[in-house]
Subunit: 475 residues, 3 copies
């Protein structure tokens, strides 16, 4: 490794010498397309306030839970030694971002074969012009190079929207959001470029410890006094419309399971009233209410046309110790098996052919692609199958997705690429990787004479650009 560190033009394209040139040809037609990022977790404040990023560690290490979890798994450093505050005060957070950065660079080997490696290479080389592999030795030089770059005005969030050629980006906002940041963006002419997404999870989970507070806050934001189940639904409806007026195209549901079974309205009202009054509800009651409300959210989508995203199947905060110490979203969320065929049936039976309804369903469990989700998306007009999400948004897993979902769902019933990230700088890398993997899969179809080249190119453009715009078009 004495030559400077560069990225190969053909990276992540198939190795086979017949398929690669075809893949290259397809990729050339999508690599320069604008980025459509309809669902993600970049904080809206970054765009609204457009302030400078503080340092390389705060930009690239601390907010990236893929990266944190891999370092933690190696056993040398705990999260507070990587810049994550211990919210229970049990440990002193490493305050020197350079030290945090060194710890990341020391662990470069641990990322071999992971998507973080691929994304981070892209970020370091393509965005920051780094020319050496990260290591204990190179850490400081790389740190300085990044620090200098992020201090320039061209590295403010809004400038990056242009530099990254992001045509549109969705943020995720709590149901009670005032939407003031989005209002400011609209005032600044960015209202159609940075879109809010309505995320009401805490309002649908009766066992949420701050349920009453969250419901009342949502009512306040919506200008609805919530006294009972009927006014609760009114507040949800009103706030959805406020989101839509602010540019929202979609809602997002990080539900535990995908159950959409409605309750009799009286039962739902009784459960809601109990929870609002702070009376205890059982786990089974909370689960039943959550399923009921998923059905209600679908019904409201048929009214207001917001696209309904469903992201089930994760145990949040699997380590209760670490979650108590460091808070949520620190790498301790672990998938589990979730059923869709029976779970989605009430919703799809009721609204699956409704012209105003669109649901995009995501999974972390690859088993369900060929068994459940592709068969469902392949018949119900209202349903699209979401792109590989989170842990499975990686080269091998994206290939498997194409191989297992396409044959039954077809390309046209997919969401197109969705990056779903909070790591802003990784967005171009993630879209680039997806385009490379899609080019490779489509090239194989061409090489196996299962698709003509013109069709493959057209499909590649669909997946990268047209499909996400179309799938997330409010109805």
């Amino acid at each position: 490794m004495t030559q400077p560190w560069t990225l190969h033009e053909d990276r992540a394209l198939p190795a086979d010498p017949v398929t690669r040139p075809i893949a290259r040809e397809i990729y050339q037609q999508t690599r320069a397309l604008p980025i459509v990022s309809m669902h993600g977790h970049v904080p809206v404040e970054w765009f609204a306030e457009d302030t400078q990023f503080p340092d390389p560690a705060e930009l690239l290490v601390v907010p990236d839970h893929y990266l944190l979890r891999m370092i933690v798994s190696q056993g040398r450093y705990a999260l507070h030694q990587l810049g994550v505050p211990a919210i229970d005060g049990s440990a002193t957070t490493e305050a020197d971002p350079r030290v945090v950065w060194r710890r990341f660079c020391e662990h470069w080997k641990a990322f071999r074969g992971t998507p973080t490696r691929f994304w981070m290479e892209h970020v370091l080389v393509e965005i920051f012009g780094v020319t050496q592999r990260p290591s204990a030795e190179s850490a400081d030089a790389i740190y300085d190079q990044i620090a200098a770059e992020i201090a320039t005005p061209g590295f403010r969030p809004r400038a990056l929207l242009d530099r990254f050629d992001i045509e549109v980006i969705g943020t995720t906002d709590p149901a009670w959001a005032s939407l003031e940041h989005h209002a400011r963006l609209t005032a600044d002419g960015l209202g159609q470029r940075v879109l809010p997404t309505f995320r009401p999870d805490p309002l649908l989970q009766l066992d949420n410890l701050t349920f009453t507070h969250d419901v009342l806050a949502t009512g306040a934001a919506a200008g609805v006094e919530v006294r009972d189940y009927a006014t609760y639904l009114d507040a949800l409806r009103a706030q959805r419309l406020r989101f839509k007026a602010a540019g929202a195209r979609a809602t997002d549901h990080g539900c535990h399971t995908a159950d959409t079974t409605p309750l009799p309205e009286d039962d739902a009202a009784r459960l809601f009233d109990a929870a609002l009054a702070g009376r205890p509800v059982s786990d089974a009651q909370a689960a039943a209410f959550a399923a009921h409300m998923l059905f209600q959210m679908a019904q409201m989508s048929t009214e207001d046309g917001l696209v309904m995203q469903i992201h089930p199947g994760v145990v949040r905060g699997h380590s209760t110790q670490m979650t108590r110490r460091y808070g949520p979203d620190k790498g301790y969320d672990i998938p589990f098996a979730v059923e869709f065929t029976h779970a989605l049936r009430p919703m799809l039976d009721a609204f699956g052919h409704h012209p105003n309804f669109r649901t995009i369903v995501f999974t972390l469990d690859e088993d369900v692609y060929s068994r459940e989700l592709a068969p469902l998306a392949g018949v119900y007009p209202a349903m699209r199958l979401g792109a590989p999400w989170w842990f499975i948004d990686s080269p091998e897993a994206m290939r498997r997705f194409r191989e297992t979902a396409t044959e039954t769902a077809g390309f046209g019933n997919l969401s197109g690429f969705v990056d779903d990230t909070r790591a802003f700088c990784s967005i171009p890398a993630r879209h680039d990787l997806a385009r490379r993997i899609d080019a490779g899969y489509l090239a194989r179809l061409v090489a196996e004479h299962r698709l003509d080249l013109d069709e493959a190119v057209d499909t590649a453009v669909d997946l990268a650009y047209r499909l996400p715009l179309e799938a997330y078009a409010a109805r």
Copy 2:
């Protein structure tokens, strides 16, 4: 796309330049073998009556639920606009087959990457000599070309048996079938070429709404007056023997789960008597009786030697709305996860080494190949693992099947290829595709020096021809 539309000789063979010539060599040894189609759903009347097919839409669009579901999923046309009658009278069926055909051709893009695309290309080019890609523009010309072809005497069902080189084909017949069509075929010398299959599902499901009627009809067909559980079993036994005498080699069980747990005989008799008398049975009782009867079917197979096919794990009519409107088998059947290891244990423990018993087990859930079905088929002499079925009867999924099932089951414990289709004209395409995929997998084993070429060719012939004949040989 100005050149005429043709199919590449090497389609669906691996792209890699080392593997493809080996695959081609293997495929050359199987491509011209006769078709053995031991299980499927082509109506026996077609062969018995040998009448002309009415029009291209009725031949290729209306009966093909793969094709219908994909068009429906695109949201532009409902089933009645594709020629499927609304049985509840709620909509007027499109009466012009040319219009239906145009709607299919308009949707050609939607089939990219699906097996329907592959099969339909084969049908259009190889059977009808079509030279242009389907599209809104080409629809009428293609329609006329097909319509002219199917008006010829050479396109009658019996002539097609010869043209397609179908050595033997199984139909699927209700348990109460009079078998008159099969009798006519026997009289016409086709008795060993078109074989009935005994399908008793409605008789094993106590919650079947027409249970009493179906049981009595079966008794009538069998010449047994069904008064109670004992005479019900007598009727089943008698009717199985009538099927066997008419050439049947197998039974077929589209059961909800794979449970084979027998009940105490008294309990079974009590449940049967209640259902026969029209008294309600619970869901749990119906499920227990269905499991009990699967065990009984296995026992009867040890007596009469009929091969027992098991096809579990599908929610039939997932959209109750659409099923009410258009009836069953219109594309709304959705798989779900089914367990086999515990479920098949009672049956395999009792009969898994019985010299007169053979069961072929199919799945729509690919997970169970490596985890459950291959380990089971790899030890119990009575069990064969069925070919990929329905949604997974596609290029990528058939490859995955070879990759996940073979290492533990071995080739010799498989059913060989089974097309399981009601789309008669697609049968040659389906067998051709399977032979290509098998050639590709075997070629890779050769290219990786895991198998010698002579062994690969011999195995390819087994899978295409010898194994299905042998697996379905009545015992």
Copy 3:
């Protein structure tokens, strides 16, 4: 097949002409590394007594349940006709090893595409110099060739340790083992080369028919009089320490599920006392106690540093008929789906960050790699993901493991290769195959420019050699 039977240098490397030379280069760096076999089932007596193997059938056929099950599945021979004694006296065991060997050779075709074929080829050609394919015709000649070889002093078990270049090998020993064989090995200077493994399954399963006997035997071995739950735990602790003193690095748990939920100590004590006294416990109680004890085993590992291996998810003796006739471990063990995310949570929450704890988790259910085990191993420092085990220790399945586990777990959170076999002569073949598959996967990463060649070689050495040594280092 007139040329002599030889093995290709490049067998099991990828066929694609770009990837193969890279794979060959990587493989050259690992092929000659010593074998580290940290977990397996070769009887310790073989090494302690170092006696000659009796005959080719006893060496290669009778102890290999992969091989037996495949022959049985073909329906021609029952286990007693293959040299396995019918322990219920119901059949006469074939006494002539030459006849058994012939029956194996007759079935050579049945092994096409299976790992047994690959391993056995390696054993026959590389170890015994066989030059003809096994068949009915060649069986006797091959038998004579092997018989001559195993009669030489160079074919004693200890000599084979050198010939196979086995640096270290783990045996599996019951919890009540006297460890006398290991003592003899220590006396002979092999104490650090042949290591015991503590396997307490029967002591953790209250429904074990010989529970009281096994518990008392363990107490006796440990020098602890077991009177109650507290002294039972003492006996376990003491015996673990005796194993550790004898060189053990690990415990092994063939538990039914992966549940690790602890009970209140009083409840556990009550259940234990009941079982010790021979009073009946329910299935649910036995399962709850087993989960409780898995948690206790983890706790003891934090005290004594023994690495905790978990191997769940198998129905043992699926055919009760055959298990009654031939005993356990004869090919009738069948996997089933097991959940890990919730099941391991109590243990990982309590000890997942403990500096003295290490658990290696294995699965027979490939679904859980990407969904559960890789996400868990990718964050908890105490957990490693075990190598593909048993049925999935095969070329295609090992590739799938790399493809589905690496992206989320990373290479560094894996166990490295573990052969887990009782077929001693197959150990070099198994390690060789794993090294070839790893070379192929890593070569693809290089060919796709996802990893540099120096990194790929370093990782290959990790997987083959460094990682198993490190993962199984007692803490």
